[in-house]
Amino acid sequence: MPAVVTAGEGLISRQQLRAFHLTGKGLNQAEPEGPMRPALLDQLPRLASLESGYPVYLAPRQLPRPLVEYLKEIVERHASAFPILSGQLPLMAHAFQRAAQDLDRVTIGQVAEPALAYCATFLESLHVDGQLVAKEIARLGKELDEAAWIVPFSGRAAPILYAAAVEASRGSARAHFIESLKECRDRVRELLVLDDSHSPDAGSAESLSASLGMEASAFFSTDLLAAALQRPVSALHSMEADRRLRCEAALVTLDAALERAAGEPAIYFFSAGDVRPAVSPIRASFRHTSTPFGDAVEFCEQELNRLAITLRALRTARLEVQTGYEPSIHDELLERFDWQSADAYELAALPAIAVLESAERLAETSLTGFGQALRSGLPVQILVEAAGLSAAALKAFVPDFGYLAIAHREAFVLQSSLACPNHLLAGLAAMAGSLRTAVAVVSVPQREIARAEGWTETLLLYLSHAVPAYCYDPGLGESWPERFTLLPAECGAESGEVLNAVHAIAVSRRFRSEFRLIPNGAWDGEQMELREYLEKYSQRAPLAIPFLWILDNEGNPQRAVVTRDAVNLCRERGRSWRIYEEFAAIRSGSEKKLSEPPDADQAKKEGAKQAIYRIVAMLTDTQVAAPVVAGESAVAPVELPLALAVAPAAAEEAPADPYIDSFLCTSCNDCMKVNPRVFGYDGNKQAYIADARAGTFAELVRAAEGCPAGCIHPGLPRPNDQTATAQVLLKAAKFSR
């Protein structure tokens, strides 16, 4: 409870206050004894209401989501059955949170009873018809999936939420991958079985009598039969030795891979912390090591190389099954084949390899490992738990890990907070699915403090922008705005600006030495409300002592003077928030967004259309023109459609040279019969004039007459072609003029 300085001790001097503000020393008697309650919080909507994201509901193969959504689903499925409860979803979620709050995670079955009982009593206290409530609650109890797990808000929630996300987003890929391995394995087996059957010893008496069924020996002398059957020359060579070897090797590898896959966990955790994260029901293996990053990277390399080997076998097997393996090409391709050449689902099928690290340790000891992991470019996932703001944040420069990771450009980065579960869950899901190096910095409550207190602090850190929630996913595009999304912190009535980092640390025990409570006797004009102070503070700090309005137990306002360090922290956090806003192009970025090129290629499309129209237009012109030209002659176009259609130009006057509308030729061989040297077949086996000089005009005309498609046009006879009698010329006129 906040301390009050008794009048008996005399007034506090300005010097003392100033000294404290600048150095953080002195006036120890006025140091608050515990977390304080900034007056501002009362203007915010009930913080608890922001809590309904908990507990989180985990169902096998499903992404984790707030229990309230699951409940919503149920009551909506049977809308008529839950007239009352359908209006009370947050209450029910709260009831489960209450029932489970002291546990890391628990099955619905274990807590359903107390939770539902709580709902019942609560609703009855609201004078709702008790029987109806009881009825609905009973019904709901039946509908609930007792085996499913729920995770309440707690300092230990992050790892299991992450694990659940991995299980959900990679499970199907894994199943699919294993299926394709099996399929391929079976096919290669068949290949080998068949090859055995091609080999000469396949026809051995033993194998023969085995394959003839049990009665065989009674009726056959199988060695005689075998001898007879062996005679036929086998049209099927057994495989070349090296192909056989390839298949056998692939088979071995695939079998091994399948065997291993059966025993694998969904996640390998590496951590320097000795607390084993409780993540059941998800299968995970936990490795305690002083160098988690190094070990994870090394292990990841191993796994990926192993995967590459499996995949090489898989590719080889596929090729062999399609008899498409060509050593000249594929040997070398497969030589170069490594994990980076894998398909996405194949990589996703790997168990996740994750480093579990606390912000403190990361800052103090393992930053180098962190960098190494980022540089590796391997799909290692890093889960950083930041419990509150570190006390060091005031005295020294503490790196912003999210920022560091983003600087790497190609890594997936999530910064989020247990206090904004929807953002966190979505982010973890995206991370679990990502095949890049991925970092998640999750703001969690300090473990040692009470749940409610932890909640308030975590929430305020987020709402005050001290710990922003954002996601950076290089997979989403090229530009910053595409890759980076910032979650605007909304705390209800007033804008995020109202709250600042100092409010957040005010509610934390860790930072009470940064505050002094001064009795109203000591209030004076030199003291300035923090917000005003910050606004005045452009270059130089105003000559005033900033304070924060605090409420004591009786709800009386108190002034809590703040140290310079706290103010600096506050300003530093404010600046970084604005930087993130720029990343997200929420301010200046927004204009960039507008000027992006869709219009440009829209224009391209337009241009293309125009071009097409123009071409079409040209075509149509000739269409119109052709008949007109033809019109000169008395012959109706119907009689000459082919000539017109195919060679409009030709319509003007009869061409001297013979030609064939090849595309109309039916390949009927008729003209070939007339003279195989004059006529030939093109690449489509359709006739064309191979050599007009190789035959007579009469032959051309005879061919034209015989042609069922009427696509041969004899043209005009060459001078001194004796066969071009008047009669022949008359016939020829039918086909050309």
Partner: protein, 317 residues
């Protein structure tokens, strides 16, 4: 870093099959026979679709047109008179990986094989069926076929055929579960090609009737239509058989016909003033029997063995 080499894909090297790769023995049909046109259209299609010759099967019955398989350099099945349909269905039944063409004639399909024709259409297995209809028995030398027109003389009806011809299109359109019914002519290769292409691309039993003359015995039947295309009615539709402009322009008579419209298809098929060509009817959603027949294809030996054991156990006393 993942994603850099993603486009790497290790696939069997594509082969490039040329027309020659599909050309079998020298075709022995009479010069001027429409079968030549169909043959080279099919060979062109095979090349353009790059069908692996070893994965392509051409099934036929008996008759001039049924020599077809011998002239393809693929797998072929030159079967019994009228029995091409059951064989083709059998080939397809357990081999979804094959491309199955079936060639039959008006005698083969519409006389001795009628029962199979009707049921194969109803089975709607994925086949490309080509009915080469020249209105006559050619191989056995000029006997009346079910599609011979009244009055046509033949060795079996020297005074001319008595009966009005059977119309394969109206019959097929009347069969339950028919899914693709088209008609084309041998003397317009572009349309012939596009029709066969559409038939091949259709998943199900696609029935194509090719109107053609027999240069020997019925050389006259489509003579006028060949030179006066106004006797042909071109059925057009965006979902139908599309031929490019120059060819379109050859046909003075066109009609827009939606292949989904069965009633209209039936009435068009009954027109006797013109030869409608194009796609009469298509139903891509028609039930396919080969989906049922191919269940369990590729089951592993060990799985089979286990199942047999289980079946036997039920009889143990």
């Amino acid at each position: 870093m993942y994603g850099l080499k993603q486009e790497w894909d290790i696939e069997p090297q594509p082969r490039n099959c040329t027309l020659e790769d599909y050309q079998g023995a020298e075709a022995r049909w009479c010069p001027g026979c429409g079968d030549h046109a169909v043959l080279s259209a099919v060979q062109r299609l095979a090349r353009d679709k790059q069908l692996p010759p070893e994965k392509t099967v051409v099934v036929s019955g008996i008759g001039c047109s049924s020599r077809f398989p011998h002239y393809m350099k693929t797998y072929g099945f030159h079967g019994l008179h009228g029995r091409a349909f059951p064989v083709a269905c059998g080939v397809r039944s357990r081999r979804p990986d094959l491309h199955v063409f079936m060639v039959t004639g008006d005698g083969d399909c519409c006389a001795i094989g009628t029962a199979h024709w009707i049921h194969a259409i109803r089975y709607n297995m994925d086949l490309t069926v080509l009915l080469l209809d020249n209105n006559i028995y050619g191989l056995t030398k000029n006997q009346t076929s079910p599609t011979t027109r009244i009055g046509e003389r033949s060795n079996t009806h020297p005074k001319g055929s008595f009966l009005s011809p059977l119309n394969p299109i109206t019959v097929t359109l009347g069969i339950t579960n028919a899914s693709f019914v088209a008609q084309t002519v041998d003397w317009n290769p572009p349309h012939l090609y596009e029709t066969i292409k559409a038939a091949y691309e259709h998943k199900g039993a696609s029935f194509v009737r090719v109107l053609q003359r027999c240069p020997h015995f019925t050389s006259h039947i489509f003579a006028e239509a060949q030179h006066d295309l106004s006797q042909v009615l071109l059925m057009n539709h965006e979902t139908g058989i599309t031929i490019d402009q120059p060819v379109q322009r050859l046909f003075p008579n066109k009609i827009e016909h939606d292949p989904r419209n069965l009633a209209e298809a039936r009435s068009l098929s009954e027109r006797d003033d013109v030869y409608p060509i194009g796609l009469f009817y298509q139903n891509p959603d028609a039930l396919r029997y080969d989906h049922a027949t191919s269940q369990g294809v590729g089951m592993t030996q060990s799985a089979k063995l286990a199942a047999v054991e289980k079946a036997l156990d039920r009889f143990v006393v």
